[in-house]
Amino acid sequence: MLITGALLIYATVDMPDWGDANSPANTHVSPRYLEKTIEETATPNAVTSVLGDYRSYDTLGETTVIFTAGVVCMLLLRRSQK
């Protein structure tokens, strides 16, 4: 476990700096989304279009997580009235 942790920490050194304008995420993906979001999705809010369209699987997962949390809460706590 320690070795894995050390490897992971070593790997983070190679990651781009926080807010680096030349990192791959800021030079390929973000401009592509910002430029094409009106044209492709007719949605002025780029955050929503990424969340709801380009990354909709992720949002479906989030909704399922919330649903599961509610169901588990109900299963653990709910006691039927006598």
Partner: protein, 164 residues
């Protein structure tokens, strides 16, 4: 004098306050309207299903705090709450499946223009609106259900000392 004191004690013990209840009666409709605005306008301005669902749930929680749990359950019973929980996720995945049935990828809303009288880009926008509504319903129902279960320890009744 003795009767009046008993009345005061009863009022305090049942948490009925005319100021709080009137203010909540005035505040809850605008809160719910604002929540619906945040959900429905999420793809044009900051907002979306998660935020709007939380605001909508907050209005119901305010109702529980100002009145009592039974009053809130008269507005939205537990069965309706559970149905809403599932309905939100079903709307989301149902839109995804609808896209797949129309011959596209799962959750690829562009294909919805074949059944809607709009351009493919507009259809994507409407698809996003559809899933935001699903997310909003699910988040609202789940937040309310978690609050009710934790606040009442799963009994869905008022605590002992507040019972009549």
């Amino acid at each position: 004098m003795h009767v009046a004191l008993e009345e005061v004690t009863e009022v305090i013990s049942r948490f009925e306050d005319v100021i709080i209840q009137t203010i909540c009666r005035l505040l809850i409709p605008p809160i719910q309207l604002f929540a619906l605005y945040v959900i429905a306008h999420g793809h044009h301005s900051p907002g979306g299903g998660f935020q709007g669902g939380c605001i909508l749930a907050a209005s119901f929680i305010l109702l529980v705090i100002a009145y009592d749990l039974q009053e809130m359950k008269r507005r939205m019973s537990e069965k309706v709450n559970i149905i809403f929980c599932s309905l939100g996720v079903i709307i989301y995945s149902g839109i995804g499946l609808l896209c797949m049935l129309l011959g596209s990828n799962y959750l690829d809303y562009g294909i919805l223009h074949t059944i809607l009288p709009v351009e493919p880009a507009e259809a994507r926008s409407l698809g996003i609106l559809g899933i935001e509504i699903g997310v909003g319903i699910a988040v609202m129902a789940v937040m309310v259900s978690i609050f009710l279960n934790i606040a009442s320890g799963g009994e869905h009744e008022e605590a002992e000392e507040f019972k009549e």
